[in-house]
Symmetry: C3
Subunit: 276 residues, 3 copies
Amino acid sequence: MLVTLSTDFGAASPYVAAMKGVLLGVNRDARLLDLSHSLPPQNIRHAAYFLAQAVPYFPDNTLHVCVVDPGVGSERAILYAEAGSQRLLAPDNGCLTEVLKVLGGPTQIRRLTEQKFWRKSISSTFHGRDIFAPAAGHLSHGLNPAELGPEVTDMVQLELPQPRRGESWLEGEVAFVDDFGNLISNVPVEMLPSKFEVTVGDQNIRHYVRSYAEAKPGELIALISSDGHLEIALVNGNAAHKLRADSGTAVTVRTEPTKQPLSRKGKTTKTRKKKE
Amino acid sequence: MLVTLSTDFGAASPYVAAMKGVLLGVNRDARLLDLSHSLPPQNIRHAAYFLAQAVPYFPDNTLHVCVVDPGVGSERAILYAEAGSQRLLAPDNGCLTEVLKVLGGPTQIRRLTEQKFWRKSISSTFHGRDIFAPAAGHLSHGLNPAELGPEVTDMVQLELPQPRRGESWLEGEVAFVDDFGNLISNVPVEMLPSKFEVTVGDQNIRHYVRSYAEAKPGELIALISSDGHLEIALVNGNAAHKLRADSGTAVTVRTEPTKQPLSRKGKTTKTRKKKE
Amino acid sequence: MLVTLSTDFGAASPYVAAMKGVLLGVNRDARLLDLSHSLPPQNIRHAAYFLAQAVPYFPDNTLHVCVVDPGVGSERAILYAEAGSQRLLAPDNGCLTEVLKVLGGPTQIRRLTEQKFWRKSISSTFHGRDIFAPAAGHLSHGLNPAELGPEVTDMVQLELPQPRRGESWLEGEVAFVDDFGNLISNVPVEMLPSKFEVTVGDQNIRHYVRSYAEAKPGELIALISSDGHLEIALVNGNAAHKLRADSGTAVTVRTEPTKQPLSRKGKTTKTRKKKE
């Protein structure tokens, strides 16, 4: 069985390797696939976005293990979830909220309680190695999920900010910054007016294009992201650096381009949030 | 079938994961192998060098998917190429030029036009997920490449600068900077005189060795790279940082070490280009 | 056979890819698994720690290839070692010392001398591609290790500093900094008194907890690492940055919390070493 791994463990530490070793120690034939081990540390929102954008593309019955787990060692639960033929193992901290929505809602959620599928000694700082990895090994080997622990109906929900709509404006925010520095907003294409301009920080972006190649290198553009949201990009450059924007930065869409001079507009649109 | 993936998507974004999911959704049994997802963004020259140095080592019939694609969503073609028993899928932007040369020239090039091997909905910013991945899935599942689209004979060629030779000097440039900060030049070992000194920026490097271990930590050395070119390295350090050099920085080789004092030499050899 | 790869080659260079190609060229069916390619360049101590923390978790007969090899091209040997049912291939530079200890000592060590299992042409800067990869390919294909070269009994040993114990204090050091910035010291839990405070640089850490979640974000804490040593962490932050600490930084443990004012204590405990 295909098992994907997504963590915030980083590239140089032995933690990912230890997880792989334990998992393969339980089921030598598991097919491991790295999704990312560079998720930003302890960033549940990033993990939630990541899973929602990645998991739905996989073949049925893939098991996705996600360990972004600031609550490791506390009473937070570890969950097994099934939805839309995908299977997930993750801490109960909200990182599953978005992906389960995209998959049409969970058909089964269980809390891991059955310690016989864990390592014998459980560190209070590394459940990835001691609980997630062996449980994933057993699941990939055909274990009936019902054996992991009892069904639960409640789980931690991540509340993501929704865009607000005014008469001639929308105010959303950056939901995700990718490795190119592209800003993916939370404004879905369906909410966009036919003609608009976008403001991020004190910059107005009026060039709305279909693809990066339609604009010149160095130009700030608005376009539709590959997941159907308003995206701000700097052609062949890094928009996040240029606009000093990050996850949470305000993205304002105005239906009718204002006629004010740029200097005044700058003042009235200083909506950029400080980075948290 | 073995399928390698090389992209500039970066380590933390869900794009690589989405490609893997789509590819495995078409052919669950494809054997995926990451080559790199940290190729410098939109850097076709780096991608070209990378493929030329990596692809030729693989067993016959490996399929190599490379997505460094600043022209995504434009009219640039997507190509399938065969050469020296290797198979490649890449945008038509020059990233294949070098590897096809190394492999002895292409025996077949096709332009992908047959949309039934793509995802149903094609984003204009993510052909990696929507075209490359499903096409690679089908190919790895045994699809006859002739079904992908028509043969073409023309493709975008990347023109790489060649070293210039004078009476007692060579002027080349840095072709590639590796993750150690070693500078791999475009000067092949065959062009090197038996005795020489190298200048990069305002530094003269006279210590020509066979391996890093022949010099002391912290020393700048010249040696022959693992691909048979003149290489400049800083033992146990980063030559690119030390010399503020990058891809394109001039590398000058003088046959006979000059006898001038260092200060004057510095002036006459300021050949370092500004980083583009 | 499962073959793991650990190198300091970095994420963007073609060296890892070339190794994979050569290895699979020898044994197309080898199951490759990346452990890390971002080990700090030429850092044997980091590699030694990494292997000791990763290798023991793998199923029997896994072959682990580690290339952190500042002595490439010199007379340093390349070793094949067996211990505790794990198999390793690494340069003879001390990177095996710790892992062999953890595995209960080697049952066999060989020096690679038999060139028929190497590539035909051997670069003096890339034995990963030219010796390690093909040898690993042959081993994974069932080659009897005895064919690689003669048994040896001697190998380079890495001497790691041990904590010193005084009447009411312990002085250890940071053995490893993980990607979160957590400081893993060389002080084993068994040496710790029941009540203590820790000093790193000019900071006293008095909050000793079981898990990160027991303290507030931004708090400096002491806890037990997942490998059973004293660890210093900054909750949801990076302790290494905050304390400007690195591998080798002194970690002092005092049995009885001193009653001195903080300012004086600061002066008497400036034990932080300069980063090498």
